[in-house]
Amino acid sequence: MTCANHTSLPVLNAKDFTTDQDVRWCPGCGDYAILTCVRKVLPKLPFRKEDFVFVSGIGCAARFPYYMDTFGVHSIHGRAPAVATGVKLANPDLHVVVVSGDGDLLSIGGNHTMHAMRRNLDFTILLLNNKIYGLTKGQYSPTSEFGKVTATTPFGSIDYPINPISLAVACGCTFIARSIDIDMKHLSVVIQRAIEHKGTSFVEIYQDCNIFNHQAWFYASQKDTKADATIFLEHGKPLIFGKDRDKGIRFHQGKMEIVELGNGVTESDLIVHDETDHSLAFLYAQMSHPQFPEPLGIIHANPDKPTYDTLVQKQIKASFERHGEPDLQTLINGNDTWEIK
């Protein structure tokens, strides 16, 4: 049941992680690329196939586990992080990946997502954010932009959206990243790092819902806009972006500010990305289109905060050390018995 210390691992490939079930997403759905990506990343990791568990809620994205030839639970709407918590409590050696949609993880399931992150459970959450409810045919989600016209908001939504990264930062999540379905290479790197991370790793993935919200991410995915609308974070590198890489971000009075490079402004004036810096993450959390380019990449990573799973095990170990071999009869008897002869 435990799976530590494997001396030799079989060589696997994406096909080994592919089930015999036909994938049932709409043609052109961004979920396909993400699935392909995950199938390719897993064989690269030094883990056994049978130690993976994929857990999801309900939604288009949440069909994910059916297509991964690993252990998997397609649970109920919004509860994937809670189910995943149970899996890890039972067996901390498993590699657990939660995959679900923005409605699932932020609307009905927002609380579980929040509490998993603050507890630093050692699993990965892939939030497939298409800014819409796909499976129920196009209602707005907590990430939909203000004013969005959808099935339930014919005159435009009046909810201000939540920024998932902001939430993750506020909850003290120890690994926070963002990527996009169309950039398979970037996505692969991010997902691999996320699964490798010890602690809750949260990845927001911009995902195209081809049917109900096709243009939602165009600013971040289309050739003509993406270079200005996004910024790739690299640990130790200054924050530069733009089609001609001529723009950067620097501090001004504790806030971020976009500057043009040149005219006395040089790279050395710019903020240097440090993924271990949690305060910086608070600043990235405030960057959103169109005021700012939106950060893609690993926003924050803190591998040192003990995980919930580890702490559970530590307390169990301490308890064993204190009590020695448990004796059931002694426990049942308790301290106050009397005998009748």
Partner: protein
């Protein structure tokens, strides 16, 4: 160490059994006092049953009616099953306690009060009219044996030598009262002395606290002896219990221990995921100390997360258990449906309290039975069992785990506030006598073998195999969508759905094969059978035994397994002319019985947040037996 009598007392009156109730403010330590009295009675070999009764408020302002806390002990020289209907002796530490409890005292009963607390402020706080003091009321003095003791003052005087502070000293009044009562009922003080020495003397190393409590206790005892306030002392002889080692146990403690025992017997670990709620919280409190028994407790963010974590744990190979009360069960219901679909073991401990909604959270009720049967969308069968006494929670908790593992489905364990908090003596079973619970998981495949069929079934029980993550070759997906028979793949096929619904139903129905038949107490046929379930066992048994002793043709039977019903239930019912079903609800089991067996079962239904009053029950049963018209209870 019990003080030896200095003068020859009058010979004590021997009584069969006594009901004593301690009451006072939430801060007066009544639960501790009652517990101590119970322990001492236990050591003396009495049978006993207890009923703690505390307010929903943590510590309402001193002296108010809301703040009244009580603890009732029924102790006896013969077998008893209930904490008793009427109180023989009441100890009231303040006016509010007296006011709230006096009506339960039998006429002529003993009433011991701390007269120091009957001052104007306190009398006003509990709503007595100005210038009125109940202690001076003819009503009280003529109807009861009123014993007024200036306990506050006497306690302070007894502890003048201590320099621990007035507050701590005042907190010892309850021990002074206990001392009096110990003297009155000829109980030794040793056991309580030992308690204080152990708890405060060592563990928390507050020897002064131990000392003042012990001194107050002794002072009370001496006072009883010296003051000649009572017409007589009373003696309750030991009961003739079977030989063996005993302990006092409450339902929640027994549940906790039963779950641990079951896990040990199954050689499995437990994940107990729960969200605090009265009256279920004790169970997670207790279990959280037992990490070395392979028990992992998880205080989730809410009840939904708790049950989902339990399901996740079961998927990964531990025993997933979640405990709560009615409002929590409501929240868990969607996920319980998921567990039905996933066909994973899950134990849901439901400690019922008075509803609906928040209701009366510290009071008992049995009104969540139908919720456990039907509180989920779709045809979503679960096994439902219910312990019948505090100690029975132990065996039934083991049963819950056994049935969940054997049948790969949710088992709902229906306790209630009365069972949870009530206590009784328990002949501790030998753990070696409890049979192991067999669980198997498929072993890893060493070479690529056949495709695993997660929903292939055992032909006997209809359960599927429990293949757990980490087992090479058994990768599979489960989910809430309808699944194809055998493969478990998603299927919207109409006939497959019909078949799967039937299979899930039948699987639970087949659990009947490993559950014991229903036993009848008394003749196995006759005029009437009184059928109960859950926490009413004590009252029903007492009432029916009494009626039978009076010569009536009535037996009783108690359902501990409710879904499925024991196989002989129909046959048992058919042997009686009338079936009477007392429940602390409006007739939930009655409805199930009527629907299944088409018999005109009559209900006795009283929802007062308390166990049945035995006298009332006895009377209603006779009335129903007498009354050919058989009208339903009011």
């Amino acid at each position: 160490m019990t003080p030896q009598p200095t003068q020859t007392p009058t010979e004590p009156t021997t009584l069969d059994s006594v009901v004593i109730r301690f009451c006072g403010d939430s801060g007066d330590g009544m639960q501790l006092t009652g517990g101590q009295f119970t322990d001492t009675s236990a050591f003396l070999g009495n049978d006993f049953a207890t009923l703690p009764d505390y307010p929903a408020e943590i510590r309402a302002p001193r002296g108010t009616m809301f703040g009244v806390s009580g603890f009732q002990v029924h102790f006896s020289s013969h077998d008893i099953f209930t904490p008793g209907d009427t109180v023989n002796a009441l100890v009231a530490m303040n006016p509010a306690g007296l006011k709230a409890n006096i009506e339960d005292v039998q006429p002529g009963g003993i009433v011991i009060v701390n007269e120091d607390e009957f001052n104007t402020t306190n009398l006003k706080k509990c709503g007595y009219p100005q210038d009125y003091n109940p202690l001076l009321d003819e009503q009280l003095t003529s109807n009861f044996t009123l014993v007024c003791v200036p306990m506050s003052r006497l306690t302070r005087e007894a502890l003048t030598e201590s320099d621990i502070g007035a507050k701590a000293v005042d907190r010892c009044r309850n021990m002074f009262a206990l001392g009096i009562v110990y003297w009155l009922y000829e109980r030794p003080i040793e056991s309580s002395v030992r308690y204080f020495e152990e708890v405060f003397g060592k563990a928390k190393s507050k020897p002064e606290i131990a000392e003042i409590n012990i001194n107050a206790l002794k002072a009370g005892y001496y006072f009883g002896e010296t003051a000649e306030l009572f017409p007589s002392r009373y003696r309750v002889l030991p009961a003739t219990h079977p030989p063996g080692l005993y302990r006092r146990i409450s339902g929640n403690k027994a549940t906790e221990l039963g779950l641990v025992a079951a896990a040990q017997k199954a050689n499995k670990k437990i994940v107990y995921a729960s969200y605090p709620i009265t009256p279920a919280s004790d169970i997670i409190h207790g279990l959280s100390h037992l990490k070395h028994f392979g028990v992992k407790t998880f205080q989730a963010e809410d009840e939904i997360a708790a049950v989902c974590a339990a399901i996740g744990a079961s998927f990964a190979g531990d025993i997933g258990i979640t405990g709560t009360s009615g409002p929590g069960v409501a929240l868990k219901s969607e996920a319980m449906g998921l567990a039905v679909m996933l066909e994973l073991p899950l134990v849901v401990v439901s400690v019922q309290r008075a509803g609906p909604a928040t209701g009366m959270p510290t009071k008992t009720e049995q009104a969540d039975l139908l919720q456990s049967f039907f509180g989920r969308p779709g045809e979503s069968p679960c096994i439902v069992i219910a312990p019948c006494s505090p100690s029975d929670c132990f065996m039934m908790a083991i049963e819950a785990v056994r049935l969940a593992l054997l049948h790969m489905c949710p088992v709902i364990f229906m306790s209630d506030a009365y069972l949870a908090n009530g206590a009784e003596p328990w002949l501790i079973p030998d753990m070696n006598d409890i049979p192991p619970i067999e669980v198997t998981h498929p072993a890893p495949l060493t070479s690529p073998g056949e495709d695993f069929l997660p929903y292939k079934r055992d032909l006997e029980t209809l359960t599927r195999e429990w293949a757990i993550p980490g087992t090479a070759g058994y990768e599979h997906r489960v989910g809430g969508l309808e699944k194809q028979a055998e493969t478990g793949n998603v299927s919207y096929d109409p006939d497959n759905h019909h078949e799967m619904v039937r299979i899930r139903e039948e699987k639970v129905a087949r659990a009947v094969k490993t559950i014991p038949p229903l036993e009848v107490r008394g003749p196995d046929s006759g005029d009437a059978l009184v059928l109960g379930w859950g926490g009413t066992f004590g009252s029903i048994t007492t009432a029916v035994d009494q009626l039978r002793a009076e010569g009536r043709s009535v037996s009783s039977a108690h359902l501990r397994y409710i879904n499925p019903f024991p196989s002989n239930l129909g046959e048992v019912l058919s042997r009686f002319k009338t079936v009477i079903i007392p429940e602390i609800n409006l007739g939930q089991l009655r409805m199930l019985i009527r629907a299944r067996f088409l018999i005109d079962a009559i209900g006795i239904n009283v929802m007062r947040g308390r166990p049945f009053n035995v006298e009332y029950l006895t009377q209603r049963i006779s009335e129903i037996m007498d009354d050919s018209s058989k009208g339903q209870d009011r």
